[in-house]
């Protein structure tokens, strides 16, 4: 698993770590039962605070994605595979939507902005934010 963080981004580093672990699971880089690198290993490799890595692991455990075994590290849970499956299904929906957008001849950036502004609209129009949103 190769991790890339952007400290200058407004997104907290622990959230960036969580996203990357999730992405690694969704793309099959990490599979159920696999062990994640230790907190110390990641902190020294990425030059970030170990507390940040520990927080990301705690949140991943809270979301049911990893299991923290005392003294031996963090492991990807079996149940995560299920979630990966729904992500795979959602991916096909996204893919077909993008296919349909082709007729509008928009740039990638324009599509991204449309999606982001729709998401922003949902956030600010008072709809409840889902935990996994």
């Amino acid at each position: 698993m190769i991790l890339h963080l952007n400290p200058a981004s407004g997104v907290p580093l622990y959230l960036q770590l969580i996203e990357q672990v999730k992405h690694a699971i969704e793309s099959g880089v990490l599979s159920a039962g696999e062990q994640l690198p230790s907190v110390r290993q990641i902190a020294e490799e990425l030059l970030i605070n170990p507390n940040t890595v520990a927080r990301a692991y705690r949140e991943l455990e809270h979301e049911g994605i990893v299991e923290l075994k005392h003294g031996s590290g963090a492991y990807i849970r079996e149940s995560v595979v299920e979630r990966t499956n729904s992500m795979q299904k959602a991916r096909t929906v996204v893919r077909s939507s993008l296919d349909r957008l082709d007729t509008f001849d928009l740039s990638e950036d324009e599509i991204r902005r449309l999606v982001e502004s729709e998401l922003a609209l949902r956030r600010t129009s008072g709809q409840k934010r889902k935990k996994h949103a």
């Binding site: 400290p7 407004g10 902190a43 020294e44 030059l47 970030i48 605070n49 507390n51 940040t52 502004s117």
Partner: protein
């Protein structure tokens, strides 16, 4: 019931390594520190930021007991660093921006000399650090580069495994490779033993990497003090689109800064803002730390 369920933003003072309350220091009519109250939780990496002259060094001098508080109190490990300097300083590893090293000594002599001051000096750890930093035992300090001096200073500050590592602008004027070595040493300190690190820096990139708590001084006042992640989650950069062009910056309740022209205005805020049917949110992103600082410093100016 609510009281017990609500977590405190910071640990109680007895769990904190540093605590100041209403600390004030004046130079003539100018307040270098103005009613500064904050605590540094044990085990945290606490970053202090602020422009030059904001009061960072003045604050650190008070933590080291070099200056007495004119008003308010300073506690380090629960002790007053002015009246109990030995108990306090023996547990602190301190590195200043320009470490004051004896030029005529060799690296080896300096290590033995520093060791003599600290009963809890760990010679094996010192040797480990020396090899890691690539410092030659027989080299005179006089001929060391700025980066090597910083590393030797850090070795001296770290090898007695202090409970509190206090770094004043540790990487100011150093190249990125040396800066990374210093950051790595800080990270190792925290990972190894859950010790506390307090450091001041004007490099936001550095703070964003390693700090979990930050405080910002502006003109002697503490204008921000919180967990970095919470700050990042709280502050957002929102772009609003107005149906009609706005000649003056629109009044947006809750906005810290408003920039733009015509129909599009960019807003920095730390609370949800209300929009009406004439405005639309076209972008909503987490704000960067740089953005937040400019917003807060600018805001503090206009209220002054």
């Amino acid at each position: 019931m609510r009281d017990t369920a609500t977590p405190l933003p910071f640990p109680a003072p007895e769990q904190s390594v540093i605590a100041t309350s209403n600390l004030t220091r004046r130079f003539g009519s100018k307040a270098a520190l103005d009613d500064v109250s904050f605590t540094v939780p044990r085990g945290s990496v606490f970053g202090l930021v602020g422009e030059n002259g904001a009061g960072k060094s003045t604050l650190i001098k008070h933590l080291l007991g070099l200056w007495r508080a004119q008003a308010g109190t300073v506690r380090v490990f629960g002790l007053d660093p002015v009246s109990e300097p030995v108990s306090v300083l023996g547990r602190i590893g301190y590195l200043s921006e320009q470490p004051d090293l004896p030029e005529w000594m060799t690296v080896g002599e300096f290590i033995r000399y520093t060791q003599a001051f600290y009963p809890r000096w760990d010679a094996q750890y010192a040797e480990e650090l020396r090899l890691q930093f690539g410092l030659d035992l027989d080299k005179r300090i006089r001929v060391l580069s700025k980066g090597q001096r910083a590393k030797l200073g850090l070795l001296g500050a770290q090898a007695h495994r202090p409970e509190l590592l206090l770094l004043d602008e540790p990487s100011s004027g150093l190249d990125p490779i040396v800066r990374n070595d210093i950051l790595a040493a800080v990270i190792r300190t925290v990972a190894d033993e859950g010790r506390t690190v307090f450091f001041s820096s004007h490099l936001l990139e550095e703070i964003e990497r390693v700090a979990d708590h930050i405080a910002m001084l502006h003109q002697g006042k503490l204008v921000l003090c919180a967990q970095l992640d919470e700050i990042k989650l709280q502050y957002r950069r929102i772009v609003l689109h107005f149906d009609t062009p706005q000649i003056q910056p629109p009044a947006v309740p809750g906005a810290l800064t408003v920039n733009g022209s015509g129909r599009e205005w960019s807003i920095l805020c730390n609370q949800p803002i209300k929009t009406n049917f004439l405005t639309r949110v076209i972008d909503d992103q987490p704000a960067s730390l740089g953005d937040i600082f400019v917003g807060i410093a600018g805001g503090a100016h206009s209220h002054a």
